[in-house]
Amino acid sequence: MPAGVEQEKAVSGAAMEIAVSRHDLLRELTATQSVVERKTTIPILSNFLLEADGDRIAITATDLDQSIRTSCAAKVKKPGSCTIPARKLYDYIRLLGDGDISIKLLENHWVQIRAGRSNTRMVGMARANFPQVPEFPESSVTRIPVASLRTLIARTIFAISNEESRYTLNGALLILKAESLAMVATDGHRLAHIEKAGESFPGINGEKKVLIPRKALQELQSLLADTDADSLDFADDDSTLFFRVGHRVLTSRRLTGQFPNYEAVMPRDNNKFVIVRSQDLFASIQRVAQFADERSGAIKMRIEQNELKVSSSSAEAGESEDTIETPYSSDPLVVGFNSAYLIDFLKAIGNEGEVRLEFKDAQSAGQVRPEDASDDYKYRYIIMPMRI
């Protein structure tokens, strides 16, 4: 392309003008705005990038670690691009009535927004300053069922560590095999592992492991919650993970570092178990945890003759005990846990059905899983005990 044309394009870029439905625009801004950088350390990152071309307007937001790019139909009068303060635009569009909105780029990064009798100008920044967002690579794409991934994330994300540590525990590990899909997350105290069989990933031979940062999982969770699509496209390269859900693309920088060898810690011989209803266990733990030590949230679980007792005590709050009836005839056992860890699990399974609590002794990892054989999912939750 001759330099003159390039030049002209830039000039016309400075003259972007579109009309778009307020409803469509707001939907896409909502899907995008969560990745906008909240701190104002790098000013350009608190802007949306708007790019008008053909019959669509593309919206991009990024915080450098991740990005979301989406689009919606628009009447493009003059193709071009601009940046607009994200928070301001989003809040303003929300307050407008339904109908068409016209967005027009003026001189010096000023942008005019008109809708009905409302007329607003706000100032963006030079489009050239907006960072380059990686393009979805069309090669080596894996199709993943939306429903499966949604479940996998919901049942592991809470176990991701908040702490920095020598292992990379600030994400969940996605394991793709030719016929199954699994996800695992841990914070070093507990571990959530879920596997879905009966899938088909023709492109995968052997096993593909991908560590996905928590932030990306959260974004993915909302994208998956807000789509009609049955499957999403996943791709990756050396530095970036890509998820395409419908017309929206999420990118995330890869986590560097090592995920621990989780298979080694999965308990094998936890042969003492009780089965209780999730609801009952949840209610008991919630009651009893009121009286647990503030810092550790420690509760004791005692299984003995046809009973599960949940108890707590702390110098400050007092003490409390709940008893749940359940068949048990093996040796009695007392083991302590952080109540918050159990609550997390019970919430993740929607507090439904029955759960099986499996123990070995007071020092070894306990395992909890839903007692629902019909499920395609194999879900296990491992918690290390607490000595109280």
Binding site: S161, E163, S165, D187, D293, R295, N338, M384, M386, R387
Partner: protein
Amino acid sequence: MGRIRVLSDQVANQIAAGEVVDRPASVVKELLENALDAGATRIRMEVEGGGRKLIRIADDGCGMSRDDALLAFERHATSKIRSSDDLLQIATLGFRGEALPSIASISRLELTTLPADQPTGTRVEIAGGKVLSVEDVGGPPGTTITVRDLFFNTPARRKFLRAETTEMAHVTALVTHYALAHPEMHFELHSATHALLTAPPVREATERIYQIFGRDTLDQLVPLAAERRFEHAGLPEPPPWRRDEDYRPPDPGYLRVSGFVSKPALQKLNRNSIYVFVNQRLIRDRLILHAVTEAYRNIIPPTSFPVLLLFLEMPPHEVDVNVHPAKTEVRFRQQSLVHDFVRESIRATLMKARPAASFVEALTATPRAASSLVPAAGEPEMPGSDPVAQPEEAAPFALSAPVPRPEEVRLPFSGSSMVAEAAVEIQPAGPVPSPASSGANGHACSQQILPEGAEGAPSLASLASLKPLGQLRESFILAVNDEGLWIVDQHVAHERVLFEKILRERKVERVNRQRLLMPMLIDLLPQQMAIFATLAEELERNGCEAEPFGPHTIAIKAAPAGLAGTELERMIFEVLEQPGSDSQSENLETARTRIAASIACHAAIKVNMPLDPARMEWLLAELARTEHPMSCPHGRPIALRYSWKEIQRAFQRI
């Protein structure tokens, strides 16, 4: 002829002088003590040339007869004790009969003395130990001793003297101490050109502190008063069959402490501001210093020292003052009892007072290396005073009392209130049981603490009423109550809360520990490995289970609840840091608090961490419940206050 000769008295006196009098301040000390022993109520001192040129001390005490006046210069001549039995019951400051002859042997001395009930007095002139003249004189009752040209005949000693200003500073500090110990007496100290200290009689120490140092220093101090009965332990008693009908077991008497301790905000770089008096005698005692340091441990930084005025009183037989000629060292008969009593009294006082630091004061409160308490206000240069050379060891020391106006000396601490407050039971002392306390009721010592002043000294007791407003940069909690605006460092506040909780739980072996899914492997250096070996058990008791995993690695299998990931690792490295060069000598209790402090620090809420209002309220409430909410285990302040008054003043509303 043998080579051994008995030394002449003069030489013997000079040798003794070497021990008793090493600098002008020691001369002042001896003469001052003599005046006090003589029952003086007014003492006036003049000191010139840092004491080398002139020291004159005039008292209105009992005076001496002509015979006594001459005898006083004989070695070991004293009116204060008669037999060695009396040594067990020394109630006077002097008793060795060494001071006057020693001083007289190394100076030109003039003594004028007149007993109250006699018409004529005596004047004695002595130079280098030789009596030059004795004559009758008239004048007011009392004794005046003038010492000129100190060390004129001992050039060796003279060489060791410091600059005049330094010597003067020592003299002034010394007189100040005695003035503090005797508020009921009149003290004056003059240099050649001006008055350094003028302190007319007041009723009590508080008023004296105010007189000498002013309001600011007094505001930084918390009054202390406590007492306990002495144990019977070891007091000689006749066996039952030798006791008379009306035999009464000897009264063990009371151990009392009173005085002032500084709030944690006031910190010094050395021990020079710790003044300890035992039965009104100024002493430097390692045992008491140790008790003081212990009391302030985990309240002020280990490198800082508090300011203290401690007056210990005990029956004379409980303390041996005859340890050193300078009489600044003592030996307590029941050492650990005295030690623990002092430590616990200070702790209890601080705990009760919960002194709050003002933000404005904290801004300027860097520990100072002052050689002693210095009046807070900058000293205006006195007209006609010599331009003073900068002394090498301390800030220029010049004390001039604010001209006292009686009505200004009204203070909230009234004499009658000393005993008004209900007795406060001291908690059983720290984890190291002292021999004296191991017996039954060993620690049933009750103590009385001065009540706060009516106007309400700033106190952290009101922490409980704080309402959080929000955070400053997600690091400091801003909170208010009627007293003003408070700024609370969220990290150190939580650190203090956790620290006390950890120590509490550790004591009853109830530390919650979370087992780790995968052991955390940490590589250590050989010396860290060695320290680990010594601390492994204590770490284990604090919830950190670790064991060697190969020659230079440890595997952590369980961690104290609330400590995970990198913070756990950092805590381990911090604890295994060489604690000084003498890791061997770190005692168990120090190790224990060090580990607790380290766990607390790493498990605590960090700065740059957003807290919701409920969490802030929780933290403030927890802080209010701690024993020492004023500073974190490393001694940094936790909560600072802009008082309502300060705020009003700053906005020129008052």
